[in-house]
């Protein structure tokens, strides 16, 4: 059952060195207020699993948008992502300073690997990445031929925490996403040992029609209210 806590209480759950999945795509669908608080917390040596590292220069003139704050504050030791090109600090920390380890995974494979983790599957068999350096990726467990076609076996991804962001979350923890913020949030909600969901608005049960719930409350451990962005 989802517990409603303050952002500070939720941040306090995270130990140094934790692995954390963050939903979102270029900041869209990041749990902004939680990330803000985490970036000020001094927590360090985190493994961040996120589509990207967002970017400096947010849509409302933010200096650092969403998870880019955590990179900027050097809280990330390892980043598992699909694309980091819009946040130049990743290249600096990984290629120049060598303080950040980056593992790149194709976006569709990453979504599926996280889903597989949350769904108890042994791996993902995808044609994506066959014949490329993805075959040498630490998450690639080998190549298999099935019915004459080659597939890479990619490992499931799980994490200590998943931090997701919903637009409306009801008192039972059911989540409704606005626009395309659902992106990685939906699969990540199934794959964190502890799932923290940030709501822009906490609503009453019934406000979200049972058919329109996109992440069921049973997946969510903690809800924080972030307020409208």
């Amino acid at each position: 059952m989802a517990k409603f806590v303050s952002i500070e209480e939720a941040v306090a759950l995270i130990p140094d060195g934790a692995s954390i999945m963050f939903g979102g795509f270029m900041g869209c669908g990041n749990a902004h207020k939680f990330v803000d608080a985490l970036s000020k917390s001094g927590k360090k040596d985190l493994t961040m699993i996120c589509n990207d590292a967002s970017m400096p220069g947010g849509p409302m003139g933010e200096d650092y948008y969403g998870v880019a704050k955590l990179v900027h504050n050097k809280q990330i030791k390892k980043l598992v992502a699909t694309h980091v090109g819009l946040n130049p600090e990743v290249a600096t920390q990984s290629m120049t300073d060598k303080t950040l380890e980056v593992v790149l995974i194709p976006q569709g494979s990453m979504a599926e690997m996280i889903r597989a983790g949350g769904a108890g599957l042994g791996g993902v068999l995808t044609p994506t990445g066959v014949g490329t350096i993805v075959e040498e990726n630490p998450y690639c467990l080998g190549k298999q031929t099935i019915n004459g076609k080659d597939y890479l076996l990619m490992a499931p991804i799980l994490a200590d925490f998943a931090v997701i962001a919903g637009y409306k979350i009801d008192k039972a923890g059911n989540v409704w996403y606005k626009g395309d913020t659902s992106n990685f949030n939906i699969v990540m909600a199934t794959a964190g040992a502890t799932v923290i969901a940030e709501a822009e608005q906490v609503v009453e049960i019934g406000d979200i029609t049972p058919e329109d719930v996109r992440t069921s409350g049973v997946f969510v451990d903690y809800v924080v209210e972030g307020g409208l962005y």
């Binding site: 795509f25 270029m26 900041g27 869209c28 669908g29 589509n51 990207d52 970017m55 849509p59 409302m60 992502a81 699909t82 694309h83 980091v84 090109g85 819009l86 290249a91 990984s94 290629m95 980056v102 790149l104 194709p106 976006q107 569709g108 494979s109 979504a111 599926e112 889903r115 995808t126 044609p127 994506t128 990445g129 066959v130 014949g131 490329t132 350096i133 993805v134 637009y167 996403y177 606005k178 626009g179 395309d180 913020t181 659902s182 992106n183 990685f184 949030n185 939906i186 699969v187 996109r214 962005y229």
Partner: protein
């Protein structure tokens, strides 16, 4: 040629059919829809979770909740829908996208493409490109024929592959090249160039068919 990119985009537009689901890469490919005839309606897909992207207006602008695959403010069009990343890439990998149009740093005569990494220099990541190349029914590479005079259409890519044996057609300001089992066939050429000039700008050997046509 005055506007090479516009010329290429206009030719790419002729590849799209009414009703197609299309994913466009950043840069040149985004110019393509402007050249579609009125009778051709395509559904644009943004791999981060929009089916049927539409125009951003003052009324629907919401860069916090709706962005395109480049992270910029986007919108869903009439009849469109929002999907999560696993559904989106299921759509892509499962062959439900009719065409993807994207640029390339290098392509080769086997139909392989390299456009995601320059080792030691630029490591931006592949994003959704590898899935799109493997999954889309038609993979159209739209790019300038050469880079500062150096061929980009090679016998074999030198940079790390984005995907192997995936390209359907390569469209440049010089011509339209179709990937076949036997190699690259120059199906159409731009009459501003001779076939010899086109071959000279191309490392791969072009197969010249008897029915070579001018670019339409």
């Amino acid at each position: 040629m005055e506007n090479v990119k516009a010329f290429i985009a206009a030719r790419v537009a002729k590849e799209l059919k009414d009703g197609d689901v299309v994913n466009l890469g950043i840069g040149l490919p985004t110019l393509v829809p402007a050249y579609l005839p009125e009778s051709v309606h395509v559904t644009l897909q943004s791999e981060n979770g929009i089916i049927g992207t539409g125009a951003v207006t003052d009324a629907n602008r919401d860069p916090i909740h709706v962005v395109d695959a480049g992270g910029s403010a986007s919108a869903v069009g009439n009849g469109g829908s929002f999907i999560d990343s696993s559904v989106s890439f299921g759509l892509i990998r499962g062959g439900h996208v009719d065409a993807t149009v994207l640029g390339g740093l290098e392509v080769d005569e086997e139909g392989s493409l390299s456009n995601w990494i320059i080792p030691g220099k630029k490591m931006p990541g592949m994003g959704g490109a590898m899935d799109l190349l493997v999954g889309a029914k038609n993979v159209i590479v739209a790019m300038e024929h050469t880079a500062k005079g150096a061929p980009k259409i090679l016998k074999k890519c030198k940079l790390p592959y984005t995907a192997v044996k995936c390209i359907t057609k390569i469209i440049t300001e010089m011509g339209v090249m179709v990937v076949t089992d036997k190699g690259l066939v120059l199906a159409e050429y731009n009459p501003e160039f001779t076939v010899e000039q086109i071959q000279a700008a191309t490392e791969a050997t072009l197969i010249i068919p008897s029915d070579l046509k001018p670019m339409v």
